[in-house]
């Protein structure tokens, strides 16, 4: 996590650095395999790493991985999109209009700390158990961090810039679109980056609770029949998904707002 001065040189140096970087993970995997193979615990409780990998391959060939994963990703990102669109709009509105802030501030600060996952039964009641209820739950969870990030970003826009624009007679619509929004983009992006894992977590968890397809539902289904290797496969899928999208967001940030880099 820290930049070091002693950067590795050459292929051997790079390989050595990679190994050094990954050794705790390898250690965990080796320990897991040894414990499982040594017969310390029953395979029902902890299958071997090799059994999990084998199961991964079988599930992949049977199409039990790509399909559910696409369903979960669709729900997570559709919800996130809704949250970004409405969250940015509400955040900017609260920053620009005193009345909007008065009306929305207590609602946002009341709803922000609420554990939104508790709303699963209500969302099932209102929107069924298929895509819609999950998408809206994701949106409902993600919108508050985005509102807050946008609001704080928009409020922090330099007064002089706004005054100059006002002095030149810029109308409010243009002010939002040409000045406030671009200046707020880094904050909005930070908010979105924080909410990407949240969106995935909520989608997966809602599927675990309510069923209706997706990786979470597949995980619970496997658990019901005590197919522990399959449970592990789906857990590792969730882990990999989270990791990959975190990397993607970092790249995206660099690409979208290159003038405002943030450490990983």
């Amino acid at each position: 996590m820290v930049e070091r001065a002693d950067a590795p040189y050459g292929p051997i140096g790079l390989a050595w650095a990679g190994l050094r970087h990954c050794y705790p993970l390898l250690l965990v995997i080796v320990a897991w395999e040894l414990v499982a193979r040594g017969g310390l615990v029953r395979p029902l409780f902890l299958p071997t790493v090799t059994a999990v990998l084998e199961q991964f391959w079988i599930l992949l060939v049977e199409g039990e991985i790509v399909g559910p994963l696409l369903v979960s990703l669709y729900r997570a990102f559709a919800g996130l999109m809704l949250a970004v669109v409405f969250g940015v709009f509400i955040g900017l509105l609260m920053a620009r209009s005193k009345w909007a802030k008065w009306a929305l501030d207590p609602l946002v600060s009341f709803a922000f700390p609420a554990p939104k996952i508790a709303f699963v039964p209500i969302f099932i009641l209102w929107f069924g158990i298929d895509h819609l209820s999950k998408i809206l739950l994701v949106a409902f969870t993600c919108i508050f961090p985005i509102i807050v990030a946008t609001y704080h970003g928009a409020v922090a826009v330099s007064r002089t810039v706004i005054w100059s624009a006002e002095a030149m007679g810029t109308p409010e619509g243009k002010m939002l679109y040409r000045i406030i929004f671009p200046a707020t983009k880094p904050h909005i992006f930070s908010g979105v980056r924080v909410t990407v894992p949240v969106a995935l977590i909520i989608a997966f968890t809602a599927e675990m609770i309510a069923g209706g397809g997706g990786v979470g539902a597949a995980l619970m289904f496997a658990q019901r029949f005590f197919q522990t290797p399959t449970v592990f496969v789906y857990i590792l899928i969730m882990l990999a998904t989270g990791l990959i999208f975190d990397r993607v967001m970092l790249r995206l940030r660099h690409w979208l707002i290159p003038w405002h880099d943030e450490p990983a």
Binding site: P24, F45, K98, D105, S109, F112, P115, A118, T205
Partner: protein, 272 residues
Amino acid sequence: MSGVPGMWLRSGAGWDSLRAAWHYLPIAIVLLVWQVVVEFDLVNRAFLPSFGETLSALWEMTRNGEIGFNLLVSLYRAFAGLAIGSIIGVAIGLAMATSRRADEFFGPLVATTYSLPKSSLVPLFILWFGIGDVASIVSVVLACLLPVIVSTYHGVQSVPPVIVWSARAMGTPHHLILWRILLPSSLLSIFTGVRIALGFCFVLTISVEMIAAKTGIGKLIFLYGENGAYAYMFGGLLAIVIVAYAADRTLLAAMNHLLRWDDSIHAAHVGG
């Protein structure tokens, strides 16, 4: 643009409560709209009980002890997990920030597991520990651990090295540097992590209860939802939302009180 809403309220002892009422008026308006919309049958009553019905259901559940018992069970799981997770998290974060070896060991593990939904481990924990408090608390601990580790790490990293050097020059022993300098200076950052973890601990507790449990407020809400007793479902939900809000406010107040000497606390007021 008009002035600040509520500007006409003068400051002063008597005016403060009026000012607070003005601040919370939007919540009252939302509740009123909820009541009116249901009363006049603008929405299907089967899908939305009125605010009054919700309140009376909540009152009934409070009187027969249903809310109290399940809330206590859930809070025990959430706060036990939060406390254990925060203590371990601060310890690991401190170790990572002060020892290169610890950083190299925990760094990759933290980076890898950070974005894993901890609720995905619940089926395993149920398999290992059975349905009950242990499975809940272990998943809450794991969820609370990571934000606290990361915020402690960043807090300690951003302590100005000059302070540490001065202390060392004056012959301060290593454990005192940790205890008297690094910890207090990174307290604001640690608190920020704990506040995130506080949110996580409720989410995880309720998720676990909804996935598999016999007791707890999450289970209560889920059961009433399945049985179609929606006023009671909304009542339970209202209870947990209020409790989560109160817990967050309490932590914020504690943070402001403990860190009243820290100038950066005034800059760090975010999230309402």
